[in-house]
């Protein structure tokens, strides 16, 4: 039986760019280059490794995002994913985790799946709850924050490293899992992979295709929104401690005063 893996990926603004809020207090992406979220690269990598270990797997990468988000899909296809689904709709602007998870879940159901793999969080929003929301919406088990994952006999197994204990977990398929940045370095796309990606299909979907009403998503449908944003205050000059006999004490007092120690 074929194994259909769907990997949810996000196109995020580059961390080194000058990130600002737009007038509606959503992230202004105009002047910032975007990329496939690094934390989602781990999810793509795990999907590819699972697929490579068997001969009947198909890896679909899925994103919800603006036109440029196709770059993230292209990268995942260049790494080796088989096909891509891009949900794009102007009404999605400002969606929070509730809206995003709704769209992802509908798109996953439409695509068909046995296993959904997500990263542990996005590198921009960083809520980290989408995998759990997805499992709830899909009505399937969730096994999150895995540092090791494998599939066999209709079951997904994995290891979760906690502070106090290491858990070996498993869930029957279909299921949703998320993987951490400890799950193994993601591969680089090769030139061959980039060439091959050109021939791979990218399916474009909008809200109509998924039977989702505009008011369920976007800023309007969001449960959370940004009320106010202020520029980070300019960095102030540091404190100079001059050693005139009691420098050590003053230094310790400064560190303690700032709760650094």
């Amino acid at each position: 039986m074929a194994l259909r893996i769907v990997v949810c990926v996000k196109y995020v603004p580059g961390a080194t760019g000058d990130r600002r809020f737009a007038d509606d207090l959503t992230v202004d992406r105009d002047d910032v280059d975007g990329l496939l979220s690094e934390l989602d690269e781990y999810a793509v990598e795990q999907a590819l490794q699972i697929a490579e270990a068997r001969d009947d797997a198909e890896v679909t990468v899925l994103t919800v995002g603006p036109e440029d988000a196709e770059d993230a899909l292209r990268k995942a296809l260049s790494m080796g994913a088989d096909k891509a689904v891009h949900v794009e709709d102007d009404d999605l602007h400002g969606s929070d985790v509730m809206g995003t998870s709704l769209v992802l879940a509908k798109a996953i159901e439409k695509t068909g799946y046995d296993l959904v793999i997500a990263g542990m969080a996005s590198t921009d929003g960083a809520a980290g709850v989408v995998p759990a929301l997805l499992a709830e919406r899909l009505g399937v088990p969730q096994v999150t924050l895995l540092s090791e994952v494998s599939v066999g006999d209709g079951v997904v197994r994995g290891r979760r490293d906690g502070d106090a204990a290491t858990e070996q977990l498993e869930a029957s398929l279909p299921a949703v899992v998320s993987v951490t940045d400890q799950s193994g370095e993601a591969r680089y796309p090769s030139f061959m992979g980039i060439m091959a990606a050109k021939k791979k299909p990218v399916e474009s979907l909008d809200l109509d295709d998924l039977d989702i009403e505009a008011e369920e998503v976007g800023l309007e449908g969001a449960w959370t929104k940004v009320d106010e944003a202020a520029e980070r205050p300019a960095r102030t000059a540091g404190t100079v401690v001059t050693d005139e006999g009691a420098g050590g004490k003053e230094l310790a007092e400064f560190l303690a005063g700032q709760k650094f120690v």
């Binding site: 990268k75 680089y188 796309p189 030139f191």
Partner: protein, 384 residues
């Protein structure tokens, strides 16, 4: 938005992004060590193979990536930008791949190219001799037919990757009385009996590549190792260089870009007379000239790459011009970069002195820039 055919499609940005990531994350941090320890950088070779950057441009039917010569040039450029030594893996392979593509039989291509594409075999190109550098036709290495076999005797000099390469494309005289029409090409295996190597050359730059003499002493190879037609070796050698000069140009371009980037970073940080030296107009003028030279070299290299891909008749001119311009730019820009870094630039604590040493060879190998100018002038003065 309007589009113009003069701008490369976005796919080339993807190629560059991949190559740059690998270069900056893995090759760059080891570049100073590779230069310092000398010899073939097996670690960086493994990195290039893992990333699929060791032999860009091999057709897909032989297991290669099938990219065109511009994408291949970008791969070389990005590797050379951080570690010129490592990019000799690519240029060395290219020198072996091109003759196989130009003159190899279907069996020969299928025999060798998949191994190269998979990173199992490295190729070398053996044409120069002690007394036959620019004057290639003066070579004395002999190949004598003996039954179905050929027997090689002679010495090849300045052979990149000798001793590491699994296969060598060797040019030898088969018909001494026929002059330049008496030279033929062969594929020699590193494990053939009668082949041995000299001590590694002690070079000024590209220290992280290995360059040795190759000795053929009664080296017997089967008849099916003849590459192309007997007597057409010189033509194959020159036809190969038309294509590979695009790679050397890309290598020079990458070195120049690396030096420019290092200089820009430095002058923004370095403070003298109470301000960043980047604020001095004299420094700005130097940077502007360096950047213009680098970009003109890039345009020329890519233009030559397009002609290599299309196998255009004017590739001979463009290949020579691109290699010549880019290597002269590399020498000028790396020299200026050392100047901009001042005393620091002259030390091994900064990368620009290495780049300046590495740049020099690009004006010399695969035809000195004097020879390039002869090639170019010959094309210009041809009866039209």
């Amino acid at each position: 938005m309007t589009s113009t055919p003069y701008l490369l499609p976005p796919m080339y940005d993807e190629f560059r992004a991949v190559a740059r990531t690998v270069a900056e994350k893995e090759l760059g941090p080891r570049a100073a060590e590779v230069d310092e320890r000398g010899g073939f950088p097996h670690d960086n070779y493994a990195t290039l193979v893992a990333a699929g950057l060791h032999a860009p441009g091999i057709p897909e039917e032989y297991g290669g990536d099938g990219v065109d010569a511009i994408a291949a040039a970008i791969a070389v450029e990005e590797v050379a930008r951080v570690c010129a030594s490592s990019s000799t893996v690519q240029t060395s392979n290219k020198l072996g791949v091109v003759p196989l593509l130009l003159a190899g039989t279907a069996e020969q291509r299928q025999r060798y190219l998949p191994e190269v594409a998979a990173g199992e075999a490295l190729l070398a190109y053996a044409i120069s001799e002690r007394e036959a550098g620019s004057d290639v036709a003066a070579m004395r290495c002999r190949a004598v037919a003996d039954g179905d076999d050929w027997v090689l005797d002679g010495v090849k000099t300045w052979i990149t990757s000798a001793g590491v390469a699994r296969y060598l494309i060797v040019f030898a005289v088969t018909d001494p009385e026929a002059g330049s029409r008496g030279i033929s090409a062969f594929v020699v295996h590193a494990d053939d009996a009668g082949i041995s190597y000299g001590e590694p050359e002690r070079k000024m730059g590209l220290k992280g590549s290995v360059t040795r003499e190759v000795y053929f002493d009664d080296c017997r190879i089967p008849g099916d190792r003849l590459l192309g037609e007997r007597g057409k070796g010189m033509r194959l050698a020159l036809g190969t260089l038309d294509h590979t000069r695009v790679s050397v140009g890309a290598q020079a371009l990458g070195i120049a870009q690396g030096a420019l980037d290092a200089a820009v970073d430095y002058v923004r940080e370095r403070r003298q007379f109470g301000r960043a030296v980047a604020e001095f107009q004299g420094v700005q003028f130097m940077l502007a000239d360096m950047a213009t030279k680098v970009e003109s070299a890039r345009q020329m290299v890519y233009a030559a790459g397009a002609r290599s891909h299309a196998r255009s008749a004017d590739l001979t001119y463009f290949g020579a011009a691109a290699k010549c311009l880019a290597s002269d730019v590399a020498m000028a820009v790396t020299t200026d970069a050392v100047q901009l870094l001042g005393g620091y630039g002259y030390t091994k604590d900064f990368p620009v002195e290495r780049m300046m040493r590495d740049a020099k060879i690009t004006q010399i190998y695969e035809g000195t820039n004097q020879i390039q100018r002869i090639v170019m002038a010959r094309q210009l003065l041809r009866t039209r």
